[in-house]
């Protein structure tokens, strides 16, 4: 021990330690200098870069979708509303394992395979990075609380409030108002760059009907927001905002009560009703039955529901019957009669002795009179144009049509909108077929035969017209030739909408305006000419079903029935077991009408076309439906007063025959 002590040189050791202390100090200062250099480099030299990175971290520019314009009916009832919902969305970039997450959500709130499929479709759309993609619309209260409780396990899952479309009348407006549904890939691809920007925050787009036609008006303009988000994507502050411009509210001519009446009047039948205000062309009712619930499409229809709608080959609920054509049948007769007068092929005194059939010269084939198929036989006897209309005498029109020829017929019928779409804002409506020599050569590669003209003169053969076209023609008839183009849109944001029509359809002008009265009178007789005890077959075809059924009818209504042969039934339908095929072979019943007719005080206020599929009889099945709609409109909605003031001569003529 002592040896060691002697060896220790305290002063030398102290010197050694102090030198080491100096070295340590230099070491410390050097390392601190390096550290300061590094931090200076970060905070001063690279400040701009990191500052931008920090802003990029927290600042997010996001779209603010505009509120979609509402849709009202004629009287301000809501047809399309926006309803607040909560949806469950997923931010793809913040979910590590997508499949595991979806799996977990399936267990938690029962996300179905169907929803996952739809979600994946949505994910494939163009989208801004870190934007959310809806997984489930309309999250229930219970689901929301489940999500809240498990939120720590659900990074990248957000619950977002959102407005979605709601259609309070559901199937009543399914075809006319249409529906919105999710924007698909194709629609996005077809958009211009500006539009795509404008739809940046929007999930839905109008797919059919008004929603599609007026998409631009209803959608509005997207807004922007610069928000600060935390690292879980939660918005902490809104730093800057450009408000979206909401879509415009629009008012339609459509009347909810009339839609209701049409739906009720059609009962269990398949069919279509179109009603037009002849003064404005405003479409008052436009109903295709059966309909479907458009609300299903808004939040993504399940494939099961969709299959149900698509696979119903008989009722075809998705099929819009108002804008798809049927053979118009005898409903064309008033217009052909007018053509006969205009072309001087007939006059008020002209009459035929109807044997019950027609034969082309030199041809042995007899064109029978369809309207007499069930009668005892024989013809209508002495028949002038008015009788030919109210009795729906085919033979008369075979002869008239034959003498007129297809060219003149085509030219004249085109004035009433056959073969064309007169509607201003129902662009998707079909135009039907108004046959001509050229048309037949172009589509069939065959020349026009005289027999084709004979068929066409009773609205059969190649002739096809939509209920919308029939109602349009009826309203032109009601207007005595003044053409009003059908339209649905009545006002935008409370302002009446009167677009400038670029190529207006010319009015129908005839040589003698009295022709109109003459034909309207004949059409009024269809409904009001009673059975006669003396004259043979001298009553209106719809008298029994309409005027006789309601003797207290305060107004006169003009009409014309028709029945359309069912051309062919698809094999798919024929194979199905659960329907009576014979029913599907029955004729379609048609009826066109307008009211009030032959009234010197009140001009016609409504023109209606009704088609009842396989309804067999126009006059007895479709006629009363038209009457119910007219009743509703004139008596319940407009509440018109029909107390007679003075009796006009034309009215007295009908009243006399009524007695």
């Amino acid at each position: 021990m002592t040896g060691k002590w002697q060896l220790k040189d305290h002063e030398a050791e102290r010197q050694l330690f102090n030198r080491r202390l100096v070295v340590a100090s230099v070491f410390v200062m050097t390392l601190f200098a390096a550290l300061i250099f590094k931090i200076f480099n970060l905070q001063v030299v690279q400040y701009d870069y990191f500052s931008a990175r920090s802003d990029g971290n927290r600042l997010h520019s996001q779209y603010v979708p505009p509120a979609r314009g509402l849709i009202f009916d004629r009287e301000g009832q809501l047809l399309a509303d926006n309803q607040p919902i909560f949806n469950l969305s997923l931010i793809r970039e913040q979910v590590d394992d997508l499949d595991a997450m979806l799996n977990y959500l399936s267990g938690l709130i029962g996300i179905t395979a169907d929803e996952i499929e739809q979600f994946k479709t949505r994910s494939r759309r163009n989208r801004v990075p870190f934007s959310s993609v809806p997984l489930r619309y309309v999250l229930s209260e219970a689901d929301r609380s489940q999500i809240a409780v498990k939120s720590h396990r659900l990074s990248g899952i957000v619950i977002e409030p959102q407005f979605v479309r709601q259609y309070p009348l559901a199937n009543l407006t399914a075809h006319s108002v249409g529906y919105v549904s999710e924007i698909n890939r194709e629609e996005l691809d077809n958009m211009s760059e500006t539009d795509r920007e404008n739809y940046g925050g929007t999930n839905h787009i109008g797919k059919s009907g008004i929603e599609r036609t007026y998409e631009e008006v209803l959608h509005g303009k997207v807004g922007y927001e610069i928000v600060e988000k935390n690292n879980r994507g939660k918005v902490m502050r809104v730093l800057d905002r450009t408000d979206p411009i909401a879509g415009k509210n629009i008012g339609l001519y459509l009347d909810a009560r009339l839609q209701q009446a049409a739906e009720k009047a059609l009962g269990d039948s398949r069919g279509a009703v179109v009603a037009i205000d002849p003064a404005t062309g405003g479409i008052l009712a436009m109903l295709s039955k059966p309909g479907f619930d458009p609300n299903l499409f808004v939040t993504g229809i399940s494939s099961k529901d969709y299959r149900g709608l698509v696979q119903d080959k008989i009722n075809t609920p998705l099929f819009d019957r108002t804008t798809n054509p049927y053979p118009p049948g005898s409903t064309v007769k008033p217009f052909l009669g007018l053509a006969g007068l205009e072309l001087e092929l007939v006059d008020y005194n002209f009459a035929i002795e109807d044997p019950g059939y027609f034969r082309l010269p030199g041809v042995s084939y007899r064109w029978g009179d369809y309207t007499l198929r069930t009668a005892i036989g024989g013809g209508h006897g002495h028949t002038d144009l008015q009788k030919a209309i109210f009795q729906s005498c085919d033979t008369f029109f075979y002869d008239l049509g034959n003498r007129m020829g297809i060219d003149a017929m085509h030219e004249f019928m085109a004035l009433f909108g056959f073969g064309a779409n007169f509607a201003l804002d129902v662009g998707y409506a079909r135009t039907g077929v108004l046959p001509s020599r050229d048309w037949k050569m172009a589509t069939r590669g065959e020349p026009w035969y005289p027999g084709d003209t004979v068929n066409s003169s009773i609205g059969q053969g190649y002739m096809w017209a939509t209920p919308l076209q029939l109602a349009t023609a009826a309203s032109i008839m009601a207007n005595k030739g003044r053409v009003v183009q059908p339209r649905l849109l009545r006002e935008i944001d409370g302002q009446p909408y009167n677009p400038v029509i670029e190529n207006p359809i010319p009015d129908v002008v005839v040589k003698d305006p009295d022709f109109w009265r003459y034909i309207q009178e004949a059409m009024t007789m269809v409904v009001h000419r009673p059975f006669s005890t003396t004259a043979f077959r001298d009553y209106g075809t719809a008298y029994e079903a309409i005027a006789m059924a309601d003797r207290g009818m305060p107004y006169k209504m003009a009409g014309k029935s028709g029945s359309a042969q069912v051309v062919g039934i698809s094999q798919a339908v024929l194979k199905s077991d659960d329907i009576v095929v014979s029913d599907l072979n029955k004729d379609h019943g048609l009826f066109i009408s307008f009211a009030p007719a032959m009234n010197s005080d009140i001009p016609p206020r409504i023109a209606v076309a009704v088609v009842v599929e396989n309804g067999e009889h126009g006059s007895s099945v479709a006629g009363p439906i038209a009457k119910e709609i007219i009743d509703t409109y004139l008596l319940e909605i407009l509440k018109l007063d029909f107390t007679p003031k003075t009796l006009s001569p034309s009215e007295s003529l009908i009243s006399q025959s009524n007695d």
């Binding site: 050791e13 330690f17 300061i36 970060l42 990191f50 500052s51 990175r53 920090s54 927290r58 935390n230």
Partner: protein, 382 residues
């Protein structure tokens, strides 16, 4: 020297300033060191309040820990450091024993099986105790040997350092093991070990590191090394912390974004913003000036520690004070370097600023020893 001590002890005859100095001496407290520590604690609490998103409970718990630390420091300072010197071998043996016990019945927390949960005692980490027991033992061992130490003494020192370090590595707490080893190595360095050994050892480590990386390093350690060289190889995973903390510091600029205004910090982009990465919060909100202020405070404490080592009356005290001071520096530097991207991520807190428990008390034990060295009369036992 003896005269100096004599004058200090007969302070009653001195001026008023000397009077107050003697009062501090009487309670064995060094005012400059205490002031530096208090300033660091205060600044730390301020930053922690913002980093924890104004969580007052967190700040209160931290303040309480600091008070406990101050009390421990004060108690330790009352003992003459030579009391600890005489107990150094016993303490070392006891701590080694505890490390052995931890291996058998240790409790795991945060991936390290380093906690001991003995009945009647609060749970603690024996490895933390080693942080000052190892330099204590090394100072005891080398102070009584001729300096610079001979190869034989260096060899035994290495064994005394490496045994506890190895035991701690087995507990899967590499960070603490490194700190424990460093606190011992600092003593050896200050004791005047020949530069040949230092340079030789440095190159030996350099050569051994690839072998360590290939055969010994665990997956997460390899990841940290790779991330250090390129944080963007996995920007949302391993590289996320360092990328976000660099963005925070860098975007703070010269003057910072303002207290509680750090977007990175307040919007939770910085993970572990209360603990290991709290410098990112400070850097973002107080800017380069804030960082320099903090470094200034640390430098002040370090300088005072150096001064205490320099003025210490015997080799044991010098070595111990020097080692404690350098270990403190090592903590500060490693944390700041890792958060700013100068070193790979090692899980070490920023002393007196990061939220912590045992580690803070350990720091105060060190400060207590420094104060004891500086305020007690020369021991009769040299």
């Amino acid at each position: 020297m003896i005269n100096q001590d004599f004058i200090r002890q007969s302070s009653g005859l001195d001026s008023g300033k000397a009077n107050s100095r003697s009062l501090w001496r009487f309670i064995h407290t060094d005012p400059p060191l205490l002031a530096g520590i208090m300033l660091l604690c205060g600044f730390g609490l301020l930053v922690l309040y913002s980093a924890s998103n104004r969580d007052l409970a967190v700040v209160q718990r931290q303040a309480l820990t600091m008070v406990v630390g101050l009390v421990v420091m004060f108690v330790i300072a009352q003992f003459n450091v030579h009391f600890f010197r005489s107990w150094a071998p016993t303490l070392y043996a006891a701590c080694l024993g505890l490390l052995g016990v931890v291996l058998l019945i240790g409790v795991e927390a945060n991936g390290a099986r380093s906690w001991l949960d003995l009945p009647g005692l609060p749970s603690f980490q024996p490895s933390e105790l080693m942080k000052f027991v190892v330099p204590l033992l090394m100072a005891w061992y080398l102070a009584s040997r001729p300096l610079p130490p001979s190869f034989k003494h260096i060899f035994f020192s290495a064994i005394m350092i490496l045994v506890p370090a190895a035991l701690i590595i087995i507990q899967n707490d590499t960070g603490t093991a490194i700190m424990v080893a460093m606190s011992g190595i600092f003593v050896v360095l200050l004791a005047g070990i020949s530069w040949r050994y230092v340079i030789g050892g440095f190159f030996a480590l350099l050569l051994a590191s690839p072998a360590w990386y290939l055969f010994l390093a665990q997956e997460h350690q390899k990841n940290r090394i790779l991330t250090f060289f390129n944080p963007y190889r996995d920007p949302t995973g391993a590289g996320y912390n360092i990328i976000q903390s660099q963005i925070a510091i860098g975007s703070g600029g010269l003057y910072g974004k303002g207290y509680e205004q750090g977007a990175q910090s307040q919007l939770d982009f910085i993970p572990e913003s209360n603990t290991d990465f709290i410098l990112a919060v400070l850097g973002e909100e107080f800017g380069l000036l804030g960082v320099l202020f903090l470094i200034g405070l640390y430098l002040f404490v370090l300088a005072r520690g150096g001064y205490i080592a320099f003025t210490a009356k015997d080799m044991f005290s010098r070595l111990l004070a020097g080692s404690i001071t350098l270990t403190f520096f090592f903590y500060v530097f490693v944390n700041m370097a890792m958060v700013s991207g100068l070193l790979p991520v090692i899980g070490l807190p920023l002393p007196l600023i990061s939220r912590g428990g045992t580690s803070i008390v350990t720091l105060f034990i060190g400060f207590g020893l420094l104060m004891s060295i500086h305020t007690h009369a020369r021991s009769s036992v040299i």
